[in-house]
Symmetry: C2
Subunit: 113 residues, 2 copies
Amino acid sequence: MRSLGKRIELLKIVAHPVRIKILDELVKGVKCVTDFEEFLDISQPNVSQHLSLLRRYGVIDYYMDGRLRCYFLRDPIIPDILELLKKDYIEEMPAPACCPVTKKGKYPGKRRG
Amino acid sequence: MRSLGKRIELLKIVAHPVRIKILDELVKGVKCVTDFEEFLDISQPNVSQHLSLLRRYGVIDYYMDGRLRCYFLRDPIIPDILELLKKDYIEEMPAPACCPVTKKGKYPGKRRG
DNA sequence: ACAATATATTCAAATATTATTATATTTTTA
DNA sequence: TAAAAATATAATAATATTTGAATATATTGT
């Protein structure tokens, strides 16, 4: 099992709009670079860089199909992350129940301004 | 409901070792800055900076208790993210079934080296 | 009012991330 | 085997993130 540190690194890698779009496509199925170029509004080298970064972290991998590189998902945490990003949440968590104790004080006092 | 872009921003903010430690404590309950200083191996100003960043993004908030600031969780996505980070996964996703079609080619060909 | 405590802010330096441009590599097809 | 298609790599420039040091602010107790 991967360390917490590695998982945090992974989360950071994934937390980028272009890379989320890429992964959103890949959960649906295999795609090659040109497929990505069509719907990502960025240059081909930039697509390649994002794909290469994702591969370096083991998030995705590819098969060769002639001169095409067919990318697919490899890390099983990805579908869960994507689902989380789309899940609906209530606006705010309930304020903590009165009065848990911190090392230094008792909660709560006045609400901040 | 928050936009996908905002959620990705949030994910990026959260994806930092110190901030994950802070949030890991806050899911357990209210904590003040000195409490954090005890187990985070960083300076007081740096603790403050991380807390301030998390608050700027609405992840946490605080109550005043005398001269203490008692921080607590505010964004309901946080417990889910923390849980995901600890969830156990199988090593790799199953290779995609033969042969989904990309715009440009058919999958799969040779496995990469 | 003054000192002490708890915490925040500001600025700068170090580092990391991102996108751009130009060029290279690989495979297929003619 | 040369041209093309598909994709990668490298170098650079722009920007953002992170930390550290110094200083500031606010609240309480005396």
